[in-house]
């Protein structure tokens, strides 16, 4: 991702609640496979000019540090920056609405017809493909944030804690997280 510091002191474009809602509704309806970050950037930075690249990266790093999905955290942060709390509400509702409606409908169809032989056969493939997709997303995220060998050690410790020692996620998060934060403590 490029970091460009805009040198022009142009005032930020004013966005209405409607514009925010529909911009995020469009992102929520067209971003697939956990790749919302790319769609967010092209909409918010390139198309609407609501943020510059530096602000976008800044908000993204906050999104990734806090619990919550990157896509919805970005919606909250960008909405807040543009229009305060009401902007956040407009943004997160737009972001989630299309997927939520589709998944409620898909769940109903699955419950009624999911045990048909053809359905079961397809779902095997869907699940397998989803594993490949999640792993690819993980690698793409890792490329950006893994910078030292010690980072790989923290990744491995977390995986061992959850998958081999079967510690609960919060225990692994607090334990390895505290260790990693202390490792990177201010000098």
């Amino acid at each position: 991702m490029t970091r460009r510091v805009s040198d022009s002191a142009a005032p930020p474009r004013v966005a209405t609640l409607n514009e925010i809602f529909f911009a995020f509704l469009l992102i929520g309806a067209t971003s697939f496979g956990g790749g919302a970050v790319a769609y967010l950037r092209s909409s918010l930075v390139a198309k609407h000019g609501w943020l510059d690249d530096r602000e976008f990266v800044e908000l993204l790093s906050i999104s990734q540090t806090l619990p919550g999905l990157n896509a919805t955290n970005m919606a909250v942060l960008v909405g807040d920056r543009l229009r305060g709390t009401r902007g956040s509400i407009a943004a997160i509702c737009g972001m989630c609405l299309p997927g939520a409606l589709i998944m409620i409908a898909a769940g109903i169809v699955y419950r009624r017809h999911g045990d048909r032989p053809a359905g079961t056969a397809m779902l095997h493939g869907v699940a397998a493909a989803a594993v490949g997709l999640i792993l690819a997303t993980t690698v793409q995220l890792g490329r950006r944030s893994i910078r030292h060998v010690v980072d790989l050690v923290f990744v491995a410790l977390t995986v061992v804690a959850v998958n081999l020692l079967h510690l609960s996620v919060p225990v692994a998060l607090l334990g390895v997280g505290a260790l990693a934060i202390l490792w990177y403590r201010p000098q």
Partner: protein, 175 residues
């Protein structure tokens, strides 16, 4: 029996574990939904999760399906609020604070330290999903193919998931 309070409790808790992405909460999602509350079987959870990868938007919208499954449309609404409201409020509050903490030295430490841990949590979630989804050589080949294509090109991931569905429809269909 009214399941709404249990749904709200489970998904509010899970939402706080989604560090770095929804996948981070998957191991706990599996324990709570399958083993503790018996809302779904593990294969059903995997199916809903995987179908959710084809839906647009944030990749955990399948939580709405679980809510609908357990308690109808009110269940879906309750789960969505429980899953998104706590982290939204946290992000709103901390987001405002974070900008003001720009010069606080620990801010960078927290960001640098939590980055690899969140990658680890997503990876742990993927492994937990893979344990249930990779049941034979064909599923491993599909997963590996999707992984490779996504890293090497810019194909719409939803299309690849659809391809996986077609391949296994042909392979696993009863004759």
């Amino acid at each position: 029996m009214n399941q709404l309070p249990a749904l709200v409790g489970v998904f509010a808790y899970l939402s706080l574990l989604t560090m770095g992405g929804g996948m981070a909460a998957f191991p706990e999602l599996r324990v709570l939904v399958v083993d503790v509350h018996h809302w779904l079987t593990f294969p059903q959870l995997i199916h809903l999760y995987s179908v959710g990868q084809m839906a647009p938007g944030p990749n955990m919208m399948m939580v709405a399906s679980i809510g609908e499954w357990v308690a109808g449309v009110p269940g879906a609404v309750a789960v969505l609020l429980a899953f998104f409201l706590p982290t939204a409020l946290l992000t709103l509050g901390v987001g405002r604070l974070w900008i003001r903490l720009e010069t606080w030295p620990w801010r960078t430490s927290i960001q640098r330290g939590l980055a690899p841990v969140s990658i680890g949590l997503i990876l742990a979630g993927s492994i937990s999903l893979a344990e249930g989804a990779l049941t034979g050589w064909l599923t491993v080949v599909i997963a590996a193919a999707v992984f490779a294509v996504l890293l090497l090109s810019r194909v719409n991931p939803a299309l690849l998931v659809l391809c996986g569905a077609l391949v296994s429809l042909i392979a696993f269909s009863p004759r």
